[in-house]
Amino acid sequence: MKTIDEIQNEIIGDFEMYSDWADKYEYIIDMGKELKPISGALKIEDNIIKGCQSRVWLIADYENGKLNFQADSDAIITKGLVGMLTKVLSGHSPKEIAESNLFFMEKIGLQEHLSPTRANGLLAMIKQMKTYGLAYMTKEKMI
């Protein structure tokens, strides 16, 4: 299993061949299309992260010391971005997730999507993922 940073570097590598914004976005959109959608039954209020414009659903599963994420969005670009984020963070330990440093968005020139004032719910989603990490770290310690 690759580390969080290795996966990030892989994505950065993928993006190096794209000089054009359109190529980058096509990659993200494809990512969004491929991402397995969350079933309607799970798209409940508890799992939603509201941006003003696009909405994000996030589900976390803890199994064998690892956290797995499923995410979805009603906007395809947001969905592609959450897909990249789950790809980077899923399957790692709560500690690794809580302490992760997500640098790939900036490196591939998409940091604007993480602006706190962006209306897509993405930053709130990252916070939520890390909060899950922290919460399960604490749980683990209590066991």
């Binding site: 914004w21 976005y25 959109i29 414009q53 696009s54 909405r55 906007a75 209306a119």
Partner: protein
């Protein structure tokens, strides 16, 4: 690539290039593409005259106004009051006392909501609004209705984004104290039959506030002819500075209302046992106002007057027609707001594509439109959609820019489908 119809371009009633040259921002590049600014419903850009007036004021004339004996204070006061007179004449108010400077439309509506509520609203009274109101013409009424136990009634919108006068009539009741209605919808473009709505309100014995945020720079407004009781708009949507706005009210009504904010300038005499309030318009202008903003706003109004509202309307109409025509050719496009009487706002969705996605792709092409609910969530709920894409036009927009938009949209659809 479609090229703009030459006939239409040539009939534009003024020289758009000359106008564009007055807006420095129109020369910038966004994401390495020339800016195509189609978000004028949210706010308009500023001409040089506005920027320079503010600049000059701060660099050569600034001080606090009212009550200062020294020269700078006199100059500032004179300029500030000149703006008031200019607006008095522009909307044909009876006296300058009827022109209150505010922070913007929202602030103007809240001023009336709080003071009208305090003076007139009682348990069971009704406020009547429409289903297409901007949040700024909904929430203040919800707040004061809660405070005073009044009830908010809503005239629903029709499929084409208009309201039916018949339905409006049935909702007017003896309990309707005040009607608050937009002249032009910011998310649908609908121009409401405001004169009829005002007359029906008055026949019912109700007061009426008109939200003219989208109308003031699009249609000639004569408050005496309209006979509305209150009318509000923002400076920043009419090519003026942010943090400025106007609240018009009939003198007798404004006189009858209690003051809203307390503070400097709105008082005659302050004693701990009894304070008396200043005359209009100062009664409603508490504290140091946005002096530089109001002085800059005068330049914005002069700019509009110089071009002329009939010319602006004609230009707006041409852009609107051409935009409808061009975008109409995109497969799967749905327009929201298809009233006969419509201003330069085009709201749409394409197939199942989320408006956010379209907004992001267009942004990468240098095209600024707005996506989302446009502060009219009830309109989105009515159509059961998450939001729309909205292109809205200004004085400086061109047919070519609509071509750029059309092509951008086609590209976005291709990428996103």
């Amino acid at each position: 690539m479609n090229s703009a119809n030459n006939d239409i371009i040539q009939s534009i009633p003024f020289d758009v290039d000359k106008i564009r040259a007055q807006f420095p921002i129109l020369n910038i590049q966004v994401n390495n593409k020339p800016l195509v600014y189609l978000d004028n419903g949210a706010s308009t850009q500023k001409p040089n005259s506005v920027i320079e007036t503010t600049n000059f004021y701060y660099s050569n004339q600034y001080s606090n106004i009212h009550r200062g004996v020294h020269k700078l204070s006199q100059i500032g006061t004179d300029l500030y009051e000149k703006t008031r007179l200019n607006f008095q004449h522009f909307i044909n108010a009876t006296t300058p006392s009827e022109i209150i400077f505010t922070k913007g439309t929202t602030h103007g509506i809240n001023t009336i909501a709080y003071t009208y509520g305090r003076k007139y609203l009682q348990k069971g009274d009704e406020i009547l609004i429409s289903g297409m109101e901007h949040h700024s013409n909904i929430v203040p009424w919800q707040i004061v209705c809660e405070i005073y136990g009044a009830i908010l009634k809503v005239v629903p919108i029709e499929q084409n984004g208009t309201i039916s006068l018949e339905k409006f009539k049935t909702l007017l009741s003896p309990k309707t104290k005040l009607v608050a209605m937009t002249y032009i919808s910011n998310s649908l473009g609908t121009i409401n039959p405001i004169k009829e709505i005002i007359d029906l309100s008055h026949q019912n014995g109700s007061h009426i506030l008109v939200d003219a945020a989208q109308a003031i720079h699009h249609l000639p407004i004569d408050v005496q002819e309209l006979d509305c009781d209150f009318l509000v708009f923002s400076g920043h949507k009419m090519y003026g500075p942010t943090g400025t706005g106007i609240l018009y009210g009939k003198e007798a009504l404004l006189d009858a209302l209690p003051p809203f904010e307390g503070g400097g300038d709105m008082i005659k005499e302050v004693r701990f046992d009894k304070t008396t309030f200043n005359d209009l318009p100062f009664k409603f202008e508490a504290g140091t106002p946005n002096i530089a903003g109001i002085i800059g706003l005068n330049a914005a109004l002069d700019f509009i007057k110089e071009i002329g509202l009939p010319q602006i309307m004609a230009h707006d109409k041409q852009l609107l027609d051409y935009c409808h025509q061009q975008l109409g050719e995109i497969d799967g496009i749905r327009f929201f707001g298809t009233s006969q009487e419509k201003a330069g706002v085009v709201s749409f969705l394409i197939n199942e594509i989320h408006p956010y996605d379209i907004g992001v792709i267009l942004d990468n092409l240098g095209i600024a439109i707005r996506t989302g609910h446009h502060c009219t969530q009830p309109v989105m709920d009515f159509y059961n959609i998450p939001g729309t894409c909205r292109a809205s036009f200004g004085i400086y927009n061109t047919m070519e820019e609509i071509d750029v938009l059309t092509n951008g949209l086609k590209r976005a659809v291709k990428m996103l489908s």
